[in-house]
Each structure stands twice: as C-alpha cells, then as structure tokens.
Symmetry: none
Subunit: 280 residues, 2 copies
DNA sequence: TTGATTCTGCAATACATATTGCATCCATTA
DNA sequence: TAATGGATGCAATATGTATTGCAGAATCAA
C-alpha cells in the first residue's frame, strides 16, 4: 500500500500535530526516509513521541518499519542509468503528464535567458510606486489576471481588472492618471484593444507593464516594461501559462521586496523574504 | 572526495576482512547507505567492529559519517530534482527568479511520483462521462477555477463555478444530480464548505475530483478521485500554483484524449493530440 | 462552568547501533 | 620452533534512537 493511501485511510482521525507531520512526510519523503523520528519531529515543532505514534497510526508496527516503507517507495535502489532509460521510455511512449512536465521544465529553465533580475526589478519598482493598478487580459490569460489581482490586493494595492467590450473598457479606464499603472497580458496575438489602451496610457502619463510570450517583442506600440519569454510547447499547439505565471510570481516577490525596503525592514536573505511572504 | 578515491588511497593497507567489506560497499552502495554496520558486517561474514574500523580507515570520524557520505554520493544524487537544483546553483546566482524557477522545477519533477497516468485517466474518464461540471475553489486557487472553467467550456462542457458564502453555495448546488461532477481545489487547509459539499455530492450520487497539495491525503471525507502533489516552496511560505496547474493541464489533455476516442478519431501519438488541441 | 475526552510533551525506559579495550589467532621472520 | 606484530572477534560500554506511562493542556459537550 502506498503512503498516500495509508494517509487517506486514517485522514479523518489525524490530529493537528499529526497533520503537520504528514504534510512534511508527503512533501519531502526523501528527507524523512533518511532521518530519525526526532529530526522529523523537531523540524515540524512537535514531540518525537508524536512521530512515533503517527507511524503506528499509519499501520506500522514501529517507526523503523514506517521509515523502511518510505525508503521502499521513495528511494531509488536500482541503477540510476536503468531508471533514466525507463523514464524516457515511458514519456516517449504514453504518459501525458511526463511529456507535459518535460516541456514545462525546459521552458522554465530557459526563462532567465529572457528576463533578468534588473528587468524584473525595474517593473516591480514601477508598480510599487503606483497608486492604482489596472489589469487587462483576454482569453486564457484571464487566469493570470485573477492571480495578479488577488496577490496585489493582499499587498494593499488598489486594483481594477478591466473587463468587457471596447465601450466597457473605455469607461473603466476613464479615471486612469499619471500615478497609475497598467499590467497587460498578451499571448498568441495582439489583443484588439491593445493599441487604444496603450495610447491612452501614454496620453494620461501612466505606466505600462506588458507580460507576454513569444509575441512580446513584436507588439507595438511598446510598453514601458516588457516581460516576455516563450512558453512551453509548440507554437499553435497546447500552450500553458506556467512560464508567464512564473514571471508573475517573480514580479510579486520583487514588489514585496520593495515594500519591505520601503518600510525599512531589512531581510538578510531572499529565502527569508520568500518565507515571510504570504504566511498566514 | 569520492568514495572510490578514498578507497584507492588506502588500498595498499587493506586487510582481507576489510577487502570483503569494500567489495560490497563498492558494488552495492545503496544498500550500505541504508543499512547499519552490523548488517553490512554480518552479510560479509566479518565482525561489526571491523566495519567500524574500516570507516575510520577511510578517513571518517565515525561509521555514521561514513554512511552519510555514501548517502550523499549514491542516494541524494539520483534524485532528478536535486540534480537540477545543483546545476542551477552552480550556473547562476541567487536572484528571486532563479530561486523561484529552481523550486518550480524541483516540484514539477517530483509530480509523477505522486500522480501516475492511470490515476489521471480515471479522473479524466469520470469527467468526460459527466453532463455538468461544478467547480469549487477558494483563495488563490480561484485562479485555477478560472482556468478549468475556460478549458472545459471550450470542450463544450457545461460548467458551474461555485461562488459566494454558504447560502449561495447551497443554492448553486441545488440542481446537482447523479450525472454531474464536482472539481474541488483545496490547498493549505480544508475549506469550510468542504464537508457539506462533499456530503451533498455523495447524497445526490454525483462524482467528485479533488485537486490538492500536500494536504490532499489528509482531507476527509475523501472524494472519488484525489489528484494531489506537493507544491513548490516551503510549507507556510510563498507557494505557487504551478504544480496544481500542471495537474489541471494534464487532466484537460487527458479528457481531450477521451473526447477524441469518443468521436472515433484515432491519433497516432499523444504528441499529435497535444499539437491538435487548443489550436486556433 | 464543569466534566469527560483527547491530545501532546516530558521523562524514564527499552531497544538498537556503534565504539573500544582486551584476548586470541594467524602469518611472518629469525 | 619461538617471537613478533597486526588482524580479528568478543564483550562491555557508550551513544543514539524509539517507545511508553503519566500528567498537564486543550477541546468539546452538556
């Protein structure tokens, strides 16, 4: 029986402390497989005894048995070369998920070739200095508009998600001023509203940030900041929002960094910044 | 220093018993990495103490240190995710974007350890057989609700995105019947509406698909299909939707596959399927 | 609020694993 | 063959790790 199944069978009876442990065990089984009950417990801030009791609850005689099971399931015992070959065989033959992930990983790995830190920071700085953020997206990109809207609001920005047809759009951007910014998403092709929108932004003296895919550089007129990188998969085929979402997340973290600096809180490392963000 | 080098430096001074041990260590380092000194010694017919002394001879303080080294060299390295991280660490600095991408790639690489093809297909089959799809998400996951809603609608499914408070929810699910399905997103913690929703689904004989993160297995009551895999980043820190979005995309492609089969169009490869999907 | 119940940490104990001093064995050499 | 010195196993000790009884804390229901 797999670990996840075992957890499911006892899911209803898990206590808060046990839940903490389970979360860690599920997300980092390798660490658990090589560590001790004490290490796991200390890491999650509960007592060693609780870890032992959880093992029993999951249906194992002892904690050691539990660890052995994790090892069986998550530690590669076979020859690595053989394993790689197997994986490739699978992905070449059948698995949708493997194919998808392979493409996503490749595309993500290429991202930093297109967007470097300073570019991201410039855009983040611009946004953090603005009063109001307008967000425009059409098609699948609306997903990202929802994401940015939520994240920005949580950081106490005032946002306006632009929706509807050209008349609606015109009404919504009427109040845009020089202290505002527009975040615009464009993939595949230039949205119909693109030119009038960008011209309006320029006219009122606002700033624009364009987040895009491969078409990014060929958009015209250009915005103040262009954050574009090609997406996973072939053009004109199934393309995902993973790469632009990574750009969005990077942007959010970068903005958070400026916010921290603004409030004179110095953080030692980026790791701390990331850890401090979004905590509940 | 690698194990092989260490052995070479002391090769001249190895005793017969030690030679036996070294042979085993070299040929089955993974077994040694997970076992005890006693196990190794007994297997090769020498005394436990000899194993301990060999460890010291190889330049380690204790047998545990020796085993840790073996683990580093032969177990941790075989984890594809960690290997990627090491590569990225070496080739680049520690910018926000690098850190983010590194985490995303790691998490994505691990995805297939948690969700296999059959699990995905089962869920896809269930959905493709349903008349109407209800979608429930709260917090950041609403982003994914928007994604799924758009994709499913394009595939001519009738969808209902559940919104609002408990009263609204109750009204919206009133018409749910046995031909319907609920896709529910849950991260961090179980949503308040989770239990009543799932109970209603069960009562009316509908199906449920839960897409989740590390908490997935500990949700209760459980749905008919659980698609869960840990997300990138540390628990309780900045966590992204990349992994669950990959699950969604995989699900969509899988559903598309069933649709193709239903309409008697046979595709030679999945690559073609993916290329054919979502083309405009 | 009270009482019952469950959860959880503490600390003592039990168990597993590693280290070390000592005795013996074996091979080598004179 | 006897002497020597390293190699090895034995067993006691030390260290690390897991389990368990107990009591205080938290939770829930009445």
């Amino acid at each position: 029986m797999q670990l996840a199944e075992r957890v499911q069978t006892v899911a209803e009876t898990l206590t808060p402390a046990e839940r903490k442990l389970v979360k860690e065990i599920i997300s980092k089984p390798r660490d658990v497989a090589l560590g001790t009950a004490l290490e796991l417990a200390r890491k999650m801030g509960v007592h060693q005894a609780t870890a032992g009791r959880l093992a029993r609850k999951l249906g194992f005689e002892t904690y050691s048995d539990f660890r052995d099971a994790i090892r069986d399931e998550f530690i590669v015992k076979t020859d690595p070369a053989l394993r790689v070959r197997k994986t490739l065989e699978i992905s070449r033959g059948q698995s949708i998920l493997d194919l998808l992930i392979q493409q996503e990983v490749e595309a993500l790995s290429r991202l930093t070739a297109y967007i470097d830190e300073s570019r991201l920071n410039d855009a983040a700085k611009t946004i953090s200095e603005c009063r109001r953020i307008f967000i425009f997206a059409r098609g699948n990109a609306e997903t990202l508009a929802v994401l940015m809207d939520r994240r920005l609001r949580r950081m106490a920005f005032e946002t306006v998600v632009i929706s509807g047809d050209s008349r609606d759009i015109a009404e919504q951007i009427l109040t845009m001023g020089r202290q505002d910014a527009l975040i615009l998403f464009a993939f595949r092709r230039q949205p119909d509203a693109y030119i009038p929108l960008m011209e309006h932004v320029r006219k009122v003296g606002a700033r624009s940030i364009v987040i895009s895919g491969a078409v990014g550089p060929s958009l015209s007129p250009q915005g103040d900041h262009l954050l574009s990188a090609p997406r996973a998969g072939k053009t004109d085929a199934f393309q995902t929002l993973t790469v632009p979402m990574a750009i969005c997340n990077g942007l959010i973290l970068s903005i958070a960094q400026f916010d921290e600096k603004r409030s004179l809180i110095q953080l030692e490392t980026l790791g701390e910044l990331i850890a401090s963000f979004d905590r509940r």
